[in-house]
Symmetry: C2
Subunit: 492 residues, 2 copies
């Protein structure tokens, strides 16, 4: 446990780093930029995985597994993709170590075991997958190919932060092949919608759906859709992306199919992914100065019961009540931990479960036994109340839904109150400085202007929102005509 | 579909390779020795994962995730482990590619992006994990640490075969830390028992539990327990291993804890794993010359329904029956596919599902409609019968259990009839040549003799079985005294 967390007001970034470690979510490892995801953090990730996997399968996708390595000659086949990732990739050049003749007990790379073709550790799998699809697709009957992979990928980032930006991270990457452009566009949109539903309904994180500008697009994509969330410090976080890849990869890897009409055509592609970065979004959306706050859907333990007792007799009586409560709650599908460890005091346990974001804490002491009550504490509101014992199950069951919704509402209200429309660049800078959040502004549509605004303010265009009316205006920087507002923000 | 499979009698090895590809389980990739696990194969692996994961969690283990890379200096810390894996590991030496100045559009390794410390792609994770545990363990209160990881690992094997031996493979690796030697020994034994239960009850693969000789032990282990299965060609396959690591890693990484008595002691360790190799065991235990045979527990589709029809009217009538049957079967928890594709003929579908090992095939034609029957085909026995429509669900439900058991019994009978006790080396060689399988023989306990037998016959000691009476005798090669028989076999 140790000392209290740095508060968000004191230093948001430090608060985040401390929380991730103290709540037992993840920590840095001996490998530069790579993290260890600790059991508690991994259990939350598993819940995300299970729900996403279910959603993917319900929409007809199947899982498969492709190699970790991409031979250099395949990696470079789709030029823009290669260019986008070449500067930050881990390269395997040798396949053996040998004893160091100068330093017994130590090992050195064996120069005789040099690979003829270097292998890139996948930063993303389009290249290796499209090289495989070449053999899987001959006829329109083989389409669509709807495949997803759960995997680790490596991007040699220079500045890393736990969950938000790590050299190795875990993700899923969907890779689909279609007979028509429209089908591929629809698929890319469908998957972006699935990410939005997942973020909002399961993670209680409100998101804005939109498309990326050319600057911010995935390397090799013709269109990138995204969901953008807003963190409590007013910075945006891209929580998921879905790409329409056109025929770029099909052409680079020569993937053609015979159409119903008998023509040989290149297939159309999408790819889409979310990663352990979502853990960062989760933490920064809901948590507070006391630690992690988890929506019930994502909590590995939804309810913890702590006995408050002196002596074994009291413990025995309390345990009887607690075990019955636990059984009744579990029968409702609620996950419960009864923590009767005698190695830690109740106060220590309270602080620990608060730090780890367990949604509901029940405490039972001798007075509760007398009165037939239980003390119920909500993690999200930090409120406590006494509940009659025979009302506890019903109350907790209702709270699971209520807390999930209430966390979403709170985050949505914050987000909505941090979307500011501005019509001048002075206003733009003022809002960024004083309030932060999303700035809705007109933009002339050029990368040049986008880059200039970034240089001047560090804000980038997070997306061109889908659900927004066309509105003519003039670019906030250049004054040139614009047909709709876009969302700017500083971003993670 | 293409032409028929090579038969097992013709060429067992070729049969296996063809089956893996034709049944859509896996295929070779563009990366030397690395496979692509195709959706159908991956769906089977997911079923194994889910069941194992459940068993691990029920016994108190939690999942976590550790880095893909092991810095060379950590890799070499436990000497025997390093020595065991150094000769076959992929090494990352650089973190960037750059444009090839001599060949525009091509990339080369950027010599300026050389890592100071090379990174080994994990062949197994003891080193990186024990380096982490150092910070997780201070007191006896922190023990036991019961952690599992689902991950990919890389071992640069020179001769690879799909599932059986691949450069990259998927596995789970458990890594536990304990306060006492006995606890660690018990854990290692418990996990080996879990593997045995999983193999027998879930995969219908009979296994023999035992311990490895020093020669065959995991590099860095003091004791390796294993489960050994027998394939249909009489070769053994090690299906899972569980290691007692003593204090070797704790000492190499200085992992100590304060005991209840206040002493500072090194912790005791285990590690244990099974991999996608189990897919190879599954295939070679049950399958036949018509293709894959799957125990119902592992079948992604347990029942397929194929309509036999001419014209849309007939199809409509058949579909009504089929959809009702499918719904009733699903209500029993049975997975069903109704294949009414009009792009393929029934005969093609029959062959395809046979090749892919779907346990039960139901066919419904116009005559069945008249008679109120369904044709039911069992994949394991290749038998067919007509079943009254209102008996189908009950019948299929019972078959799921019956086929699971019957596949196990068949494999066990084969295995049991291929354990031969021999008392002379001539007999040993004769059995190996004429019958193959496990050979139960006395051995003098030396690595020297074990190696000699291997050189002479290619047979190795698969295990020293646990459930076996002590029996004095003399070594089959040297005639020296021996106190128990061990199991020899040629192995995958």
């Amino acid at each position: 446990m140790g000392k209290k967390l740095t508060t968000r007001a004191e230093d948001y970034s430090k608060w985040y780093n401390e929380l991730v470690v103290k709540a037992d979510l993840a920590e840095n490892s001996a490998v530069r930029g790579c993290m260890v995801i600790k059991p508690y953090g991994y259990a939350i990730w598993e819940k995300m995985q299970a729900e996403l996997d279910r959603m993917f399968k319900e929409t007809g996708h199947q899982n498969a597994y492709f190699p970790l390595f991409v031979p250099k000659n395949l990696f470079e086949a789709e030029e823009k993709n290669a260019e986008g990732f070449a500067k930050e990739c881990a390269v395997v050049t040798h396949y053996r170590l040998k004893n160091n003749p100068d330093d017994p007990g130590k090992l050195v790379v064996d120069p005789e075991a040099k690979l003829e073709e270097e292998l890139v550790v996948r930063p993303t799998s389009e290249a290796i997958i499209w090289n495989t699809y070449k053999n899987w697709v001959q006829s329109y009957r083989d389409l669509p190919l709807l495949i997803n992979q759960w995997a680790n990928v490596v991007r040699w980032e220079m500045r890393t932060r736990l969950f938000l930006r790590t050299a190795e991270f875990l993700w899923q990457e969907g890779h689909t092949a279609h007979a028509t452009k429209q089908e591929a566009l629809d698929e890319a949109m469908q998957m972006n919608d699935i990410y939005a539903t997942f973020a909002e309904d399961f993670m209680a994180i409100p998101v804005i759906k939109g498309s990326k500008t050319e600057n911010e697009r995935f390397a090799g994509a013709e269109e990138t859709y995204c969901i953008e969330a807003l963190m409590q410090d007013g910075k945006a976080l891209q929580a998921g992306t879905s790409h329409f890849l056109g025929q770029n990869f099909a052409k680079a890897f020569d993937v053609k199919f015979a159409s119903k009409e008998g023509n040989l055509e290149h297939v159309w592609a999408t790819s889409w992914g979310v990663s352990t970065r979502l853990m960062g979004a989760l933490i920064m959306t809901h948590s507070d100065d006391n630690g992690l706050v988890l929506p019930p859907n994502l909590a590995p333990v939804q309810v913890v019961i702590v006995p408050i007792y002196k002596g074994d007799d009291q413990l025995e009586q309390i345990s009887e009540v607690a075990n019955q409560l636990a059984a009744d709650l579990r029968a409702k599908g609620i996950s419960v931990k009864y923590d009767d460890r005698d190695t830690q005091k109740p106060g220590w346990k309270f602080a620990q479960y608060e730090l780890q974001g367990v949604p509901v804490r029940l405490a039972i002491g001798p007075k509760d036994l007398e009165k037939g009550t239980v003390e119920l504490a909500r993690r999200d509101t930090l409120t406590k109340e006494f509940v009659e014992r025979d009302k506890v199950v019903e109350k907790v069951d209702a709270l699971m839904t209520e807390m999930q919704q209430s966390l979403f509402n709170k985050a949505r209200d914050y987000r909505d109150s941090h979307i500011t429309s501005v019509d001048s660049f002075d206003e733009f800078k003022k809002v960024l400085k004083e309030k932060n959040g999303f700035i809705s502004a007109h933009w002339d549509g050029t990368s040049e202007t986008e880059n200039k605004i970034k240089d001047l303010t560090k804000a980038t265009i997070r997306c061109i929102p889908f659900n927004q009316e066309q509105e003519s205006g003039s670019c906030v920087l250049t004054g040139k005509p614009s047909s709709q507002r876009v969302l700017f923000a500083k971003a993670y």
